[in-house]
């Protein structure tokens, strides 16, 4: 039990008639990077929001860092860093003011926050833009601010929903390397992405979601084995498992 940073069991969530998450179970070990893959609308973002306590599950249980989410959502949020799929920030604040706001929320000591903010701004090439209002930032700059906000308080668990969206190649590489280092230090990362190459290169384990269910999970080798495609790429495995691989005819039609 203590080896797991996250354990979600028989998790379900519906929005009206739509069953967004359908009885899934996910376990993530400490220091593990778990990739959550799936086509649009497969339930990845809903699962992440359930884990963070932003949504309430219809059934099932979630324990994050030894804390039951439904009983102490604020306690869970203290140890989790979250990057939403679209960076939700306050656009009338400057990048620096927003990060200061986040630091206040996590009660980060002043000296520490100053140093952390400075390091991250430099590292992600945001120095010089920190006093500009977020409303004027590009998509990638907003994403960088959201990533810094999630990492600043040294979370034990990171929940990152399409976190590399919009990042320039250098920043994307930096974040990937940083995640690997953090994982080596025992921090767990739940990471969703549509870019299968990133999942293949970064994640220790992968769970593929489709129509609210986990249809396959395990290491890359496990997935290839489950799909019956030894030696194949993650893209081929993904398309086979989710049954979305019949694209040739559609391409031919659209090309006419």
């Amino acid at each position: 039990m203590d080896d797991f940073a996250l354990q979600a069991t028989s998790l379900s969530k519906s929005f009206g008639p739509t069953r967004a998450v359908d009885g899934i179970s996910i376990a993530m070990k400490k220091g593990e990077i778990l990739g959550l893959l799936g086509p649009n609308g497969s339930g990845k973002s809903t699962t992440m929001k359930l884990i963070l306590g932003i949504l309430k599950p219809d059934s099932g249980s979630i324990v994050v860092g030894g804390i039951e989410v439904t009983k102490d959502p604020v306690g869970v949020k203290k140890i989790v860093g979250y990057v939403p799929e679209t960076p939700q920030t306050y656009e009338f604040l400057t990048g620096l003011e927003y990060l200061d706001f986040i630091a206040d929320m996590y009660d980060i000591p002043h000296e520490e926050r100053k140093a952390r903010i400075s390091q991250f701004l430099e590292g992600l090439q945001m120095a010089g833009h920190e006093n500009e209002m977020i409303g004027g930032y590009s998509q990638g700059m907003k994403q960088k601010i959201a990533i810094i906000a999630a990492l600043m308080h040294r979370p034990k668990i990171l929940v990152m929903d399409e976190a590399l969206n919009g990042l320039d190649p250098r920043s994307a590489k930096l974040v990937k390397d940083l995640l690997r280092n953090l994982a080596n230090e025992g921090i767990s990362v739940l990471f969703s992405t549509h870019v299968l190459e990133i999942a293949e290169a970064l994640c220790d384990d992968v769970a593929i979601m489709y129509q609210g269910k986990v249809v396959a999970s395990g290491t890359m080798a496990d997935l290839r084995s489950q799909a019956g495609l030894p030696g194949s790429t993650l893209e081929e495995v993904f398309l086979k498992i989710t049954g979305t691989g019949e694209l040739d005819e559609i391409v031919r039609e659209l090309s006419k």
Binding site: Q88, D107, I117
Partner: protein, 559 residues
């Protein structure tokens, strides 16, 4: 200029006005289609014609022989009023559109008002300006529908039909003129915003609030009936100046129609059209020059980052609560859509002052009337400001409320922060307004203290009522105009708020009645503790409601 494009853009802009939610059923809902405005116009016009007809029947019954009736002088006064109303309509219409436009159009986010589209689609500035003005004119076409509907039966009865037709035609032009003026103001305000944001630092955002207030007050004053009457009175001695006031040309043309001066009527009608064309040209030029198609990067400060606790922590707020207060405070001065909410009490007081100080409005009321005149805004402004500021506390988070959901902060802490800021703002505003009107009304210190105590009690209870409604029924949608509170509940909140304020203000109301009636005797002091006790009960109820609503709201993200 492609008329089909103008039509298409006009329809798109009208739809963006009507569709205030993201409901997928918008297309099927008749109330979300532009045609609903025309239907409403016709319905209101029909109802007004009916009321006008009833008035005509009453007129015939009261004055069977017209001017020759026993009270013929009253008949003549009524006839004169109808004629002047008809002549005044073309002047009134653009003013009304401008006021409505300033209040309801300027705070719409450009990305939701479809105005950004012009930046990448093959649309010329003329086409966009024309379409935008047309959509504004169409959206507020209810204004002439009311006036023209009421006056139609009277015009027919009094043989003013040609005058009515002239008023109709010039009102249509006036609607478009109003729309064009809104376009010019929109571009000017945009220019002010970018100028202020681009060049200045923190203090400059207050300047934007000030400019916004000044623009509205100037426009309101320009079309305030009391002020206009004074202007017309002063102009009557120098009638030669009227032809130099373009906004009056439509009325001058109608006056000429009444006088049977065809040449003058034609000249001023043509001048009205030409004036509108000139405004179109100006609007296009102003937009071409000042419209910023994208939000520029705005640097707020270059000072070195020094995190500090500030005085909020010394007031008992935790780090997270103080952060929310500071964040909301910055939003007040930086978010254009919030400015109107904070400007309302300032505008309210200023307009009330203009009305009070305009000769003939309150000057003859004596000290008793002045007493009420100076008491009323203190309680009304306190009520309105407290309700508005507190009720938008949660909805103003907009989609970014997700940040609060993902932060380690409890619902009670969020409510504490929101309550703190709403109380700070509202009590400051109420005190300031009370002092202004104390000085204006020349009241005794005792009256001022009595007013202040009750006004403060009203403010506190209204803050709690507003927080209750705002937390129970927030509206986080941003399109096309942020509303912050579910409009149906907002409509309910206002009478509830006014009723609560009225009950709390009973001691003051009785006191003022005694003053007006010249009844000697002490202020009913024994009612003050009862009023305060009532305010405490309302405050406690409001707070409990707000607390349970925030807990429910923050329990799950449902946006």
């Amino acid at each position: 200029m492609d008329l089909r494009k103008i039509y298409a853009i006009t329809i798109a802009l009208s739809k963006s006005q009507l569709r205030t939610s993201t409901s997928g059923r918008a297309g099927a809902n008749i109330f979300r289609r532009p045609s609903i405005i025309l239907i409403l116009d016709l319905a209101v016009f029909g109802a007004c014609v009916f009321f006008g007809y009833l008035f005509t029947v009453a007129l015939q019954y009261s004055f069977p022989a017209g001017a020759a009736s026993p009270d013929g002088q009253y008949y003549n006064v009524l006839v004169k009023l109808v004629r002047e109303a008809l002549i005044f309509i073309p002047t009134f219409v653009p003013g009304s559109v401008v006021i409505a436009g300033v209040l309801f159009e300027l705070n719409i986010s450009s990305k939701f008002s479809a105005s950004d589209t012009v930046n990448w689609l093959p649309i010329t500035q003329v086409e966009y300006v024309a379409a935008s003005a047309l959509s504004v004119a169409y959206n507020y076409s209810l204004v002439p529908a009311v006036f023209l509907g009421i006056t139609l039966p009277l015009a027919v009865q009094l043989s003013y039909a040609p005058l009515w037709v002239g008023a109709l035609l010039l009102s249509v032009i006036g609607l478009f003129t109003g729309g064009i003026l809104v376009e010019i103001i929109r571009a000017a305000v945009n220019r002010v915003s970018t100028l202020v944001a681009g060049r200045a630092r923190k203090g400059a955002f207050a300047l934007r609030l000030l400019l916004f207030v000044v623009i509205i007050i100037v426009i309101d004053t320009s079309f305030n009936p009391n002020v206009l009457i004074q202007v017309v009175n002063s102009l009557s001695s120098t009638l030669t100046l009227v032809p130099f006031v373009p906004i009056l040309w439509g009325s001058v043309a109608l006056d000429a129609v009444f006088a049977g001066d065809a040449v003058r009527a034609t000249v001023f009608s043509a001048a009205t059209v030409l004036f509108t064309a000139l405004l179109v040209w100006i609007a296009v030029k102003v937009r071409s020059r000042y419209w910023a198609p994208m939000v520029g990067s705005v640097a707020i400060s270059t000072a070195e980052y020094m995190p500090r606790s500030g005085f909020l922590s010394r007031l008992g707020l935790t780090s997270g609560e103080a952060a929310i207060v500071r964040k909301d405070l910055k939003g007040v001065t930086r978010r254009r859509e919030l400015i109107s909410f904070f400007a309302v009490p300032i505008i309210f007081v200023a307009i009330f002052l203009i009305d009070t100080l305009t000769p003939g409005i309150s000057g003859g009321g004596g000290s008793g009337a002045l007493q009420i005149v100076t008491d009323l805004p203190v309680f009304l402004a306190g009520t309105i400001f407290a309700l508005m500021i507190s009720s938008i506390s949660f909805g103003q988070e907009s989609k970014s409320v997700m940040v609060l959901y993902s932060m380690p902060i409890s619902p009670d802490q969020i409510l504490k922060a929101k309550t703190f800021l709403a109380l700070a703002f509202s009590l400051s505003a109420t005190t300031a307004i009370a002092v202004v009107f104390w000085i204006l009304g020349g009241q005794s210190a005792l009256f001022f203290i009595e007013n202040l105590v009750i006004a403060a009690a009203i403010t506190v209870e209204e803050v709690m009522v507003g927080l209750g409604f705002g937390a129970a029924h927030p509206d986080f949608q941003e399109r096309p105009r942020p509303r912050f509170v579910d409009p149906y509940w907002l409509i309910l909140m206002l009478p509830v708020g006014f009723a609560v304020a009225a009950v709390t203000a009973v001691p003051i109301i009785l006191r003022d009645i005694f003053v007006v009636a010249s009844v000697s005797g002490p202020t009913p002091l024994y009612l003050f503790p009862a009023a305060i006790a009532f305010a405490i009960v309302v405050t406690a109820f409001g707070y409990r409601w707000a607390r349970s609503s925030v807990r429910k709201l923050m329990a799950e993200y449902r946006i």
